[in-house]
């Protein structure tokens, strides 16, 4: 049974809030001059006395990282706090050399925003609680028989990532289903990519997601006990992890037990969540204002300047696509979900007088071939011009839609112009009526039984006959036209 059905049947609903971290692709780290793009670097080669927390060093915030955080907060419709400051978040875990992380507490850069998402059930607004700036932590490798932290004999640290600018985005608990959570993440990712502040590579950890989940009787206004799920670091993991956890909580409650407030870890290999720590061990971070750095005052002028420089965001682009190109709302929503795809579409749509047909080809043929060959728009040989040419060939009746698929596949593979492919391979649709009619007569003579069936009222026999004609012409006939012609001939005889 689907989770949705199960919850409905038992009279429960899920309440989900997300906490997202994204690394900023600035040149340098948050508080020092070490490079910020450290993925793949040799361990402990992008470190300095500041990010190693050596005594006597002073951190100084990176202005660009602060501006980019304002940019993200504005794109998420947040209010920018005029007064903002850094706090120390104290904890004993060796991923930070200082035993604290420089983060933000009661004066984050942005508060009270929202992001509109498009789910299978329509548009929905997810409120953003806060957007703040902090530093990323180092990376630990646990060495032992299993590689699991609980069985490690010792651990190794690479501090390259320590101090990389990290933006935390926290939603309100407005998300009701795993699908909504996934769509939110996808939408947020496309916003961040549009802003060009992060590469949002989930596999490399530059976009990460944790979730708070609880369930409650449908319609209830109070919240059930929540668990925090860590390591939901792919769209699939986010959806599957939440599904698992909601089901687990529902089963717990239905069997008369209580959900325990705890932090759980999504085990992607075994597709389940496991206890990481319970509330008793929960952290008490003893935040206090970072004494090494003075507060920030982000003036209205700066905020308005950054706001005026915001690029067109996916949600706005979608509205414009519908307005300018008269394409279906759903198609526009998918097209803008990826920056490269939106650009590719727009270029092709401008060249064509049928943007909807362009959208159809991109969303069916092109996406199919991209998935099959595991590449994305920047790596392909077929061009927007090819797509608009293909649409023209179809529109003018020069090729059938069946042939169009073939031509597309070849253009995708070779980067050849569709017109050239059609010419070279003689794929033009048979537009010569006499020629088509003679083929149809041939097929009718070869299939007397089907003709008899049709005349006796078995109307579906015509499908078989059309199929035979298409086969004989190797797909170069227009099936609609063939259908009409057969009907015409049979009703006159």
């Amino acid at each position: 049974m689907s989770l949705e059905k199960l919850l409905k049947e038992k009279g429960y609903e899920a309440v989900i809030g997300l906490e997202i971290h994204t690394e900023l692709q600035t040149n340098s780290k948050m508080f020092c001059g070490c490079p910020a793009r450290v993925f793949g670097l040799e361990p402990n080669t992008a470190v300095c006395p500041i990010c190693l927390g050596l005594p006597g060093t002073l951190p100084v915030p990176n202005q660009k990282a602060v501006e980019w955080t304002v940019k993200i907060a504005l794109a998420l419709n947040c209010k920018i706090n005029e007064f903002s400051q850094f706090h120390r978040k104290n904890y004993f875990y060796p991923d930070m050399p200082k035993n604290y992380q420089i983060s933000q507490y009661d004066y984050p850069i942005g508060v009270n925003g929202y992001l509109e998402i498009e789910t299978s059930k329509g548009q929905k607004r997810i409120r953003i609680h806060r957007v703040h700036l902090e530093e990323d932590t180092g990376k630990l490798v646990h060495v032992g028989r299993t590689g699991r932290i609980s069985e490690a004999e010792y651990s190794l640290i690479d501090f390259n990532r320590a101090g990389v600018p990290l933006v935390e985005i926290v939603t309100e608990a407005d998300i009701e289903t795993p699908e909504e959570a996934k769509v939110f993440m996808q939408t947020l990712r496309s916003v961040l990519l549009t802003l060009e502040v992060s590469d949002c590579n989930m596999e490399e950890g530059s976009l990460r997601c944790d979730a708070n989940v609880s369930i409650r009787p449908k319609g209830s206004t109070s919240f059930g006990t929540k668990t925090e799920i860590k390591n939901l670091n792919s769209f699939r993991a986010l959806e599957k992890g939440l599904e698992y956890e909601i089901k687990r909580q529902l089963e717990t409650v239905l069997s008369g037990k209580k959900v325990v407030q705890e932090t759980r870890h999504w085990d992607d290999a075994n597709k389940r969540t496991v206890t990481l720590r319970t509330k008793e061990e929960a952290h008490d971070y003893r935040y206090f204002p970072e004494p090494d750095m003075v507060p920030m005052e982000i003036s209205t002028q700066i905020v308005e300047k950054i706001r005026s420089e915001l690029p067109e965001l996916p949600f706005e682009k979608k509205k414009r696509f519908i307005r300018e190109y008269s394409i279906k709302e759903k198609d526009a929503g998918i097209l803008v979900s990826d920056k490269e795809m939106a650009e590719f579409f727009e270029e092709a749509a401008r060249l064509s007088n049928n943007p909807q047909a362009v959208a159809n080809i991109i969303l069916s043929e092109l996406l199919y071939h991209l998935n099959e060959s595991d590449v994305w728009f920047s790596d392909i040989r077929i061009t927007p011009k090819h797509i608009s040419d293909l649409v023209n060939l179809l529109e003018s009746g020069k090729i059938s839609s069946k042939i169009a698929k073939e031509v597309f596949a070849e253009a995708f593979k070779t980067g050849k112009n569709p017109e050239e492919i059609v010419r070279e391979r003689g794929l033009e649709q048979i537009s010569d009526d006499t020629m088509l009619e003679s083929i149809i007569y041939e097929v009718l003579n070869e299939n007397p039984q089907a003709v008899k069936d049709f005349k006796e009222g078995k109307k579906q026999a015509i499908g078989f006959l059309v199929g035979q004609v298409m086969k004989k012409t190797q797909g170069k006939a227009n099936p609609q036209m063939v259908n009409e012609k057969i009907l015409e001939i049979l009703s006159n005889n």
């Binding site: 040149n27 070490c34 080669t45 470190v47 660009k64 400051q85 875990y93 651990s155 501090f159």
Partner: protein, 94 residues
């Protein structure tokens, strides 16, 4: 204003300090005295004052986003009590 023995235990645990029962008793008294002393500030009329978190009255000290030279790995690891190859080595965490 007083600090209970349980509060001392909690703070000590967070700071990874191991205290004896006598020390807990002692620190409970001492910390209470310190807080009582600090509490005298509250006798003043502070109604319209923002909390002071920094002694320097400055705002917006930033650096530009430029990459500077890092330490060499050997320098970075030179103070480490233990290392293994390219990494800092530490005892098991849990």
């Amino acid at each position: 204003m007083s600090i209970s023995k349980d509060e001392v235990r909690h703070v000590a645990k967070l700071a990874r300090l191991e205290l004896s029962e006598e020390e807990i008793e002692k620190f409970s008294n001492q910390l209470s005295q310190i807080l009582e002393h600090a509490a005298r500030v509250q006798e003043l009329d502070l109604e319209n004052l923002e909390p002071l978190t920094h002694a320097v009255d400055r705002r917006n000290v930033f650096r530009s986003d430029e990459v500077k030279e890092c330490l060499s790995r050997e320098e970075a690891l030179s103070n480490a009590p233990e290392r293994e190859g390219e990494f800092f080595k530490i005892p098991p965490i849990v």
